[in-house]
């Protein structure tokens, strides 16, 4: 079988540090990236000193539930924390407090432009300390800083629904944008505030059963590396399968310099985490009313906002996505677009001009001034009508599809037509003028 084609089967595990003020199980400051000195945000609890006991951070739990609700998850009304055991110098207690069989959230979805990804579960745990490797006087040493120890960490696990490297990146970006929008995590990938893992395996294109192995690519810290690593794995695994070889279950890392994945020495020879419920932390029980109260606090999410903007203001969703970084920005642009609509100004054109920096952004000058600047610009850029009409005729002749689709009710084809026309205009022009002219030509051509 030389021409067998394979398809990617991929699921992801994403860790993100929550931006609570204090740590997960103690009152130490949660700000490991800005600490001036190592081991200054530590206490008996997060250093794992004898006799110290953890007490869970209420806000971290509420934020985890909110994230779950934002992703359409179901919530376990009864939940608990468990101990996950392994030995590593950055894990002070010899176990990590995590959640085993009763995660706070399960069964959700994330929509991406490459397709839906189902969320398997979201659980809350504590981060480890940070290791630094250094050679001192010829000796190789590992240095440990526990400022990050016990920082709240959510883990979002998907079903194996991801079908391409681009799909994986789109999922990760969407997840990050939601967490940032909810204002629960900074998701700083370079510093490890958000860490990606992809479970990659292949199956023959015509099969539906899950492969009997998976390769875990760990600790990826950018979406570009994620795509590169998955693409590399697809090629590597395809080559092995074509040779008829079995692919071992293993953990691999990504070497960005060599542009390849490499087998990683596992932390444990055999992973046997010996989970059991942490006796120090009483279980957590929610009422349906409490969950509904958290749901009511959720903002309208970026996805819903961009759908609504498309309907109300004719702003394309890809354009909208670029300003929907946080709730404050969403509110600001909402004001801007609604004013623009009142004054008969195209929100889409306005946004494009803001993004191309021809019009000052409302973030810096406010919605009112931003709109005024755009209106002023429009006046100066009206163009010769005859020239415009000539170009429109040319575009419509070269793209007969436009009229056809337009008259079949696909009014959004106007956007494409405008793009074609604008590209051929000799100077920067007012999109609303172009739009009006284009519509006039289309209507009159019947």
């Amino acid at each position: 079988m030389t021409n067998q084609t394979y398809q990617l089967v991929c699921g992801m595990e994403v860790h993100a540090e929550l931006k609570t003020a204090s740590k997960m199980f103690c009152g130490c400051k949660n700000d490991p990236f800005h600490a001036e000195q190592p081991n200054t945000y530590t206490c008996p609890v997060c250093l794992g000193l004898p006799g110290a006991l953890p007490v869970a951070n209420k806000r971290a739990i509420e934020w985890t539930i909110k994230l779950g609700l934002a992703l359409g998850c179901k919530i376990n009304l009864f939940s608990k924390f468990d101990r996950k055991h392994y030995f590593y110098p950055d894990l002070p207690k010899g176990y990590q407090i995590s959640q085993y069989d009763l995660p706070f959230c399960y069964d959700g979805t994330i929509e991406t432009e490459h397709g839906t990804v189902r969320i398997h579960r979201i659980h809350l745990e504590e981060d480890t300390g940070k290791l630094l490797h250094k050679t001192v006087a010829g000796k190789q040493l590992s240095l440990i800083d526990f400022n990050r120890s016990s920082v709240p960490l959510v883990e979002i696990v998907t079903e194996p629904d991801i079908t391409s490297a681009a799909h994986a990146a789109a999922y990760g970006k969407q997840l990050r944008s939601i967490m940032k929008y909810l204002d629960i995590a900074n998701c700083d990938m370079e510093q490890g505030g958000m860490r990606l893992e992809a479970n990659v395996s292949l199956r023959p294109a015509n099969e539906t059963a899950l492969p009997n192995y998976k390769t875990e690519i760990k600790n990826i810290n950018s979406f570009r590396f994620l795509e590169q690593a998955i693409d590399f794995e697809v090629q590597r695994q395809t080559a092995l399968l074509e040779k008829g070889e079995r692919i071992p279950q293993e953990t691999r890392g990504w070497n960005a310099v060599k542009q390849e994945t490499y087998p990683q020495r596992s932390k444990e020879d055999a992973e046997d985490y010996r989970y059991f419920p942490d006796p120090d932390i009483p279980p957590i029980r929610f009422t349906t009313e409490q969950i509904e109260a958290l749901r009511a606090e959720l903002p309208e999410l970026p996805d819903a906002v961009s759908r609504r903007w498309e309907a109300e203001y004719h702003v394309s969703r890809s354009l909208a996505a670029q300003v929907l970084e946080n709730q404050a920005a969403a509110e600001l642009y909402e004001t801007l677009f609604s004013r623009a609509k009142q004054q008969g100004v195209s929100a889409e054109a306005l946004l494009k001009n803001i993004q191309s920096k021809k019009v000052p952004a409302p973030e810096s000058v406010g919605a009112e001034k931003s709109l005024a600047a755009f209106e002023a610009l429009q006046k100066t850029e009206s163009i010769d009508t005859t020239e415009l009409t000539t170009i429109i005729h040319k575009v419509l002749a070269e793209n007969p599809d436009i009229s056809a689709k337009y008259f079949h009710g696909q009014k959004q084809i106007i956007g494409f037509a405008m793009g074609q026309v604008m590209r051929q205009l000799p100077q920067k022009s007012d999109p609303s003028q172009v739009r009006t002219a284009l519509l006039r030509e289309l209507e009159s051509s019947t």
Binding site: P50, A52, L53, A56, Y95, R274, Y275, D280
Partner: protein, 470 residues
């Protein structure tokens, strides 16, 4: 001897200025020095510093001070303290000085009680003989050829030998009651969560309890009143209001029922212990109590359940001792601890957890049901504390099974979480103490203290003092 008096008596004498705190502390220091061969302390505070503190406290004494003000006390070395090293009886924690103090110790210090030193123990609470320690075995003050019991052996000896007014022990499977019985004093294992565990070096977190050892139920009540209550730093500590333990303890117990589980009174243990406990039950009948026989078949499974759970949790709790942030290294655990860690690791490991760890938790549910049924039929349950009086050194050390069975009558109580206290009930022909256990339902500390008080008002076993062999 001042230290033979009750806490209330001493507090009265202090307020009447008939004695001073300095006298009391000096006597405590002298008793510690005289009994040094009993080896019940791992660390002692500096003599001059203690006397200076005593004089300052004398100067500041007023009638409104807490009853424990000025009382010399000690704590098991499983409680972290900023001022003295904390070892948990193990070389693994050599030179460890905690940057914080356990809640229970802080509460006592806040009353003005004076910490004299920290007591020897089986390391990590692993043992019932106080031989499993890196600081030498603790000797029984009644006969130094015998063990003190454990794991809070040092605490029991310090009280029995009248070196301190009371001591704080820790009880996971009998570690307060066992040495209290073997040394002829009173010891209270509280309801799980009644006293904060913050700053207690964990043995098995779902079983560990913090409690006092003292000369009498009356003294136990005073200390419990001080240390009980919820602690925001211990999530498992109970939010229930704390009862009044120190008043009305002489209220009658007439008409109350004592349950006698037939599993605790079979003829399968030391006959002297059994006959002594049965005599104690007769004595309690004379106080106006009635008895009812109970059948609690799950008691026969207490040891397997206890060891499965305690070992599992201890394998986890002791994982932090890697020698990186403090202490030495994992090579320094004694064989008893290494065994328990391996047993627990096995019980939790992939493929076995369902059969071992989880089945033990299921069996625990059945044991809890047995106790719930029992307390529908009676107010108290009576039992021996240990299957035999104190053994000679070495008898338990190399026999892990015998060591386990020493917890036969005490461990079931920790699995269920109810309170229980041990009180002296007699002596063997060789003059070794025997202890009676009085078990109550959850948060019934007041009830069991009341019964123990009534029993002690009618008996003198708790007043016998060992002659320290110098």
């Amino acid at each position: 001897m001042l230290l033979d008096k009750s806490i209330a008596e001493l507090a009265g004498l202090l307020r009447k200025r008939e004695i001073t705190i300095e006298q009391l502390v000096l006597e405590s220091i002298e008793r510690c020095e005289q009994g040094v061969s009993l080896n019940c302390f791992i660390s002692l505070r500096d003599k001059q510093a203690l006397l200076k503190e005593a004089r300052e406290k004398d100067a500041a004494l007023s009638d409104d001070k807490h009853l424990l003000y000025g009382m010399p006390f000690s704590v098991k070395d499983s409680y972290v303290t900023q001022d003295l090293p904390t070892t948990s009886g193990s070389r693994v924690l050599k030179n460890f000085i905690s940057p914080y103090t356990a809640t229970v110790v802080q509460k006592l210090l806040d009353t003005g009680a004076i910490l004299i030193g920290k007591n020897n123990q089986d390391s990590w609470g692993h043992g019932g003989s106080n031989e499993n320690t890196d600081f030498g075995p603790v000797k029984n003050p009644w006969n130094p050829a015998y063990i003190s019991g454990g794991s809070s052996g040092g605490s029991a000896v310090a009280v029995a030998a009248r070196m301190v007014t009371f001591s704080i022990g820790e009880d996971t499977g009998g570690s307060i009651r066992n040495p209290a019985s073997m040394c002829g004093i009173s010891g209270l294992k509280v309801t799980y969560g009644r006293v904060s565990r913050y700053g207690t070096i964990a043995y098995a977190s779902s079983l560990d309890t913090v409690g006092p050892l003292a000369k009498s139920a009356e003294d136990l009540a005073i200390v419990l009143q001080t240390i009980a209550g919820s602690d925001p730093k211990d999530g498992s500590s109970s939010h229930r209001p704390v009862d009044t333990y120190t008043e009305g303890l002489t209220d009658g117990v007439v008409g109350k029922k004592i349950g006698l589980p037939k599993q605790f009174f079979a003829e399968n243990y030391n006959p002297e212990v059994r006959s002594t406990i049965l005599a104690a039950v007769e004595q309690m009948k004379e106080l106006g109590l009635t008895t009812v026989e109970l059948d609690m078949p799950m008691l026969n499974y207490a040891i397997p359940i206890y060891y499965m759970l305690a070992s599992s949790e201890t394998s986890s709790n002791l994982a932090r001792y890697d020698g990186v942030r403090y202490g030495t290294g994992r090579e320094n655990f004694l064989p008893e601890s290494a065994r328990r860690i391996m047993l627990g690791t096995y019980a939790l490991s992939a493929g076995y957890a369902e059969k071992l760890y989880k089945n033990a938790q299921r069996a625990r549910t059945l044991l809890i049901d047995n106790y719930a049924d029992a307390f529908k039929q009676c107010d108290f349950i009576a039992a021996p504390t240990t299957p035999s009086p104190a053994q000679k050194f070495g008898e338990l050390l190399d026999n892990p099974m015998e060591n386990m069975l020493a917890d036969l009558f005490t461990a079931t109580i920790n699995i269920v979480g109810v309170p229980s206290l041990a009180v002296p009930a007699g002596f063997t022909a060789d003059k070794l103490p025997i202890g009676l256990q009085i078990i109550g339902d959850k948060f019934q500390e007041r009830a069991i203290l009341t019964l123990a008080r009534a029993y002690q008002d009618a008996t003198t076993w708790h007043k016998e003092v060992p002659e320290i062999h110098l």
